[in-house]
């Protein structure tokens, strides 16, 4: 149906709240060095901290009272790593429920080298807070499917045993270590044997039950499991937890056996050991999963799998991930991500965007397209903001840029989402889609309030249709991409947009904030805020060069403490 949905926008109000929080953070960073400055007691984060303080925070209360410069340790307990110069100890972080992507990656890696295809689960692929009934039900189905696949490849399992029950025990130890991210205790082994394996008649059935049990086990489904050692107040992460933290950050999955070995050998307690493992993980192809996870969360690209226009397979999302992967591998900065002409195309994508130079196969191949600067012009990005329409949706695109790349504080809180605000319209004869949208917005003041802040950013991308193809006209009229944006100033087209964002300190700060959010979650205490600020400062200092940021990360207290 050839019509535009003018929306007062399908954006999550939660994003707005985040934007408001960010406003405070920006002011903090701009006003001081970000380390020694205490957050204002009236800030939302510190008030949240006091509201959420409880018995678990007793160990950090002394450092809280002493402020963020209260140095507790010279070295991080149990390690040879210097304690950070500030921040003190941080609160135990909440456990993190794995995302759907992580669950799929984890299952794949638990049973590697077996070829396991994890059925798609319902629900959001973004980070989520709590497990739901539907996820539990989906996991049961996933568990059945995976158990069946494991049994079909049972000959490839790395088991060395003669007696069946010994094999079962070995299976639990080997694959449980991977799933639970720590060595499996004798108590758990016995529980699995008694309650799952021995209840079945045949060895294979018992093994299948163990597989199902591992997948449904909470120790598998949460990222951090060691938790707080309240007796000793030693809040430093164990080596295994540190390994898991690294692997989820860089691979969006569990550690491999090498990383576990490094943990076991206490290599992760030294700076050099940590550095070596970070480099190894970055050089592994699985690094692409870690990057994709961040981008998916940051840019809300959660619908890769089902928003694809008909006929366009996952090439678009793969090409997007490949571009990001390539850029980081090559020491790219934040601005490079927005301006680089490097594009990954296969035959399908080349045909889609009508690129005739060169020969393409099914494999993604690196090439350069000067008129496609940065990820904002990639099909894998653009398709998310246009529904199933052929023509672009400037409002959705603009809103995504404003909220996620500029951390704009557009206030949608007064917006009451209602169908009557969605105004389907078709441009009149002699009217472009842009003109039609601008007219519709101008006649509805309640819409204009928000649209005026987002549409202009989207108009700069008007050269590209819903699938990222170049358009030749806008409903028969010339395509108009020039705007006077309230945040970035006058822009002629998508090149101007890319350059403006690449050179924008606000955009870089927003990028830093999103990395901090992604890695640490919301800062609830002063110590956490300090660690959080350190990370943001690192991103700013290195202009978004992730490889250098990662080196800073291993000095961040939040990385080392529970």
């Amino acid at each position: 149906m050839n019509r535009v949905l003018l929306t007062c926008v399908a954006l999550k109000l939660a994003v707005c709240v985040k934007a408001l929080v960010f406003t405070y953070l920006i002011s903090l960073l701009l006003s001081c060095d970000g380390i020694e400055q205490k957050p204002s007691s009236s800030s939302s984060s510190s008030s949240s901290a006091s509201a959420s303080s409880n018995s678990s925070s007793s160990s950090s209360s002394s450092s809280s009272s002493g402020g963020i410069n209260n140095v507790t340790y010279k070295t991080i307990p149990g390690t040879q790593i210097d304690a950070p110069p500030s921040c003190g100890r941080v609160e135990p972080p909440p456990t993190q429920l794995l995302t759907n992507d992580q669950i799929a990656n984890v299952i794949r890696d638990i049973f590697a080298p077996l070829e396991i295809e994890v059925p798609r689960m319902r629900g959001s692929y973004l980070k989520k807070d709590k497990i739901s009934l539907s996820l539990m039900e989906d996991l049961l189905i996933v568990a059945d499917s995976v158990a069946e696949q494991v049994l079909k490849q049972i000959d490839q399992l790395d088991l060395h045993c003669d007696v069946e029950i010994d094999c079962a025990r070995q299976f639990i130890i080997t694959y449980g270590l991977r799933a639970f991210k720590q060595p499996v205790s004798e108590e758990i082994i016995e529980r699995y044997l008694q309650k799952l394996y021995l209840k079945e008649t045949l060895f294979e059935q018992g093994l299948a039950q163990i597989v199902r049990g591992i997948i449904l086990d909470p120790f598998t489904l949460y990222q951090y499991t060691s938790g707080t050692d309240t007796e000793t107040e030693n809040l430093a992460l164990s080596a295994y937890d540190k390994a898991a933290k690294l692997s989820f950050l860089l691979w969006n999955s569990i550690p491999d056996d090498t990383l576990y070995q490094a943990a076991k050998a206490n290599k992760l307690d030294t700076k050099q050991g940590l550095h070596d493992e970070v480099q190894r993980l970055i050089n592994d192809d699985r690094f692409i999963y870690g990057l994709a996870a961040f981008y998916r969360n940051w840019l809300h690209l959660y619908s890769f799998h089902y928003r694809r226009p008909p006929g366009l397979d996952k090439s678009a999302s793969d090409a997007f991930s490949q571009f990001i992967f390539h850029m980081y591998r090559n020491d790219a900065s934040f601005s490079d991500l927005l301006t680089s002409p490097t594009v990954f195309l296969n035959s399908q994508l080349a045909e889609l965007i009508d690129h005739k130079d060169g020969t393409f196969t099914e494999e993604l191949t690196e090439t350069e397209l000067v008129d496609h600067p940065g990820f904002l012009t990639r099909t894998g990005y653009l398709i998310h903001f246009s529904g199933n329409e052929e023509h672009p949706n400037p409002s959705m695109r603009g809103a995504n840029i404003a909220l996620n790349l500029l951390c704009s504080d557009i206030d949608f809180s007064g917006f009451d989402w209602h169908f009557e605000f969605i105004l389907p319209f078709v441009p009149k004869e002699g009217q472009s889609y842009r003109q039609a949208l601008e007219f519709a917005v101008s006649t509805h003041p309640i819409c204009e309030e928000c649209h005026i802040q987002i549409d202009s950013l989207g108009f700069t991308l008007n050269l590209f249709d819903a699938k990222g193809r170049k358009r030749i006209d806008d409903n028969g009229l010339p395509i108009d991409t020039s705007v006077a944006d309230s945040l970035l100033g006058p822009l002629q087209d998508h090149h101007d947009l890319a350059n403006a964002l690449a050179n924008s300190e606000v955009a870089l700060q927003c990028y830093a904030k999103n990395w901090a959010d992604y890695l640490f979650g919301e800062a609830l205490t002063e110590e956490e805020q300090c660690a959080y600020d350190l990370l943001q400062q690192s991103v700013m200092q290195h202009r978004g060069n992730l490889l250098q940021v990662l080196n800073d990360l291993i000095n961040n207290p939040k990385f080392h403490y529970r």
Partner: protein, 445 residues
């Protein structure tokens, strides 16, 4: 740990379908016994017994006392005294509303007690749903079988040859033969419903969730207070799934099979037509006891009865059908039939009472047995309708009594039954003009 050989679905079906004198389920008993005893929910059930002319008060009035008070059946109905303490007889029911669209009588718009296909008796233009099926539709598919209807083949001149229940003008199927019903319970449930693989899967999932719960308990001791809500949500999700599994297990075919195995029903037994009445009763009892269904009824609607009442002494060698006999002055033959029917009902009610439920009550305690017919208005007896109710201990407080009502609306009884079954949203049954709602406690307690 004891191990049991697993039987494939194919093997199970093969054995379950095997005819002959061998109790077909015995081979499964070891495995079935091995299964953990599942807590079955004690749910209210409804069992409807329809007799074409029974209790037809033209015939039955002499068979019990005329004054209200303790139940005291006489002569042919004397067998009913065996279950009098768990029964109640209601008289003087205004059954106008129970008889659907009778010729020359004003149309009530009510749903009948039993249904008649269009052009049924007297070519009445009727389309009525039997009360058990109506109730089953209201309750919905909460059990593997929505409702189970047994009954005779109908060959009478009233042309009710398929069913006693009509939905949207379509006569509804019922089990015309005990063997068909037996086959359905024993074999077809495998085809249509959850099978043994599903049962096994449910058991496995219970074990997995059990392990998950243990791990969660452990995890909770390691996580910070920030995680309390998250852990609670996880625990809640596990409990929700477990609850679903428990319900599915209670309704699973294997659970039913285990129950059937305990009854040792044989294929040979149900092929003996002379025992069809008790076999129907036995199958209904099993179906109710094993949660195969919450509604099981018998519709005995054959007006001729010659074939099936040959085992009744005074009926033997008499070619006159039952209905014609009701119009003859000599009622001796009929009273023999009545005696047989009374005995059959006693046998069925006793069967229900013999089944012990998980909470220690009997199946009869949790089943509302309802015996009636709808042949009242056309026989000018609308003012003295009868119905016989047994069981439902927790609802009926006047067991052992004959209650003479004052033109109690029959639709109110049916509304009350619906409430007993948990359908409390039903305010009235049938034509609202002829229904006041749920009966006061003076009747049902």
């Amino acid at each position: 740990m004891q191990k049991y050989k697993n039987l494939s679905r194919r093997q199970l079906l093969s054995l379950a379908g095997g005819a002959g004198a061998v109790p077909v389920l015995w081979p499964f008993v070891p495995r079935l016994e091995a299964a953990e005893a599942e807590a079955k929910q004690v749910l209210p059930r409804f069992s409807y017994w329809y007799e074409f002319t029974m209790p037809h008060n033209l015939l039955t009035q002499p068979l019990y006392q005329s004054e209200p008070g303790p139940l005291a059946f006489k002569e042919s109905f004397a067998p009913l005294n065996q279950i009098a303490e768990k029964s109640v007889l209601l008289r003087n029911i205004d059954r106008l509303t129970a008889y659907p669209l009778v010729r020359n009588h004003h149309e009530t718009g009510a749903i009948g007690i039993t249904g008649w296909r269009p052009g049924g008796e007297g070519k009445f233009s009727t389309s009525a749903t039997s009360v058990d099926q109506w109730l089953a539709e209201k309750i919905g598919q909460t059990t593997p079988v929505k409702d189970l209807r047994a009954g005779w083949k109908n060959v009478g001149r009233f042309d009710v040859d398929i069913s006693m229940s009509v939905v949207d003008g379509e006569p509804q199927e019922r089990f015309q033969d005990p063997l068909l019903m037996y086959e359905y319970i024993f074999r077809n449930t495998f085809e249509k419903l959850r099978d043994i693989d599903a049962y096994q899967q449910l058991q496995q999932r219970k074990s997995i969730l059990d392990v998950a719960k243990s791990s969660l308990d452990k995890l909770k001791t390691h996580t910070s207070a920030r995680d309390a809500e998250r852990m609670e949500a996880h625990e809640f999700a596990i409990r929700e799934v477990e609850q679903k599994i428990n319900i599915a297990l209670a309704n699973s075919t294997e659970n039913i099979f285990r129950c059937l195995a305990e009854k040792k029903i044989t294929a040979e037994a149900v092929t003996n037509e002379q025992h069809a009445y008790p076999i129907y009763s036995q199958l209904m009892t099993i179906a109710l006891a094993c949660n195969l269904t919450r509604i099981a009824g018998a519709h005995y609607g054959n007006p001729r009865c010659n074939l099936h009442y040959e085992f009744v002494e005074n009926f033997r060698s008499d070619s006159m059908d039952f209905h014609r006999k009701t119009h003859r002055p000599d009622k001796a033959y009929l009273y023999d039939v009545l005696k047989f029917r009374a005995q059959s009902i006693v046998e069925y009610v006793k069967m229900l009472d013999a089944v012990i439920e998980p909470d220690g009550s009997t199946l009869l305690d949790n089943t509302l047995f309802y015996w009636t017919n709808d042949m009242i208005w056309s026989h000018k007896l609308r003012d003295d309708g009868h119905c016989f109710i047994a069981g439902a201990k927790n609802r009926i407080k006047r067991h052992g009594e004959m209650i003479a009502t004052s033109g109690l609306l029959h639709n109110d009884i049916l509304t009350t039954i619906a409430h007993y079954m948990g359908e409390t949203s039903i305010e009235k049954y049938g034509d609202r003009q002829y229904c006041n709602g749920v009966l006061p406690s003076s009747y049902f307690g």
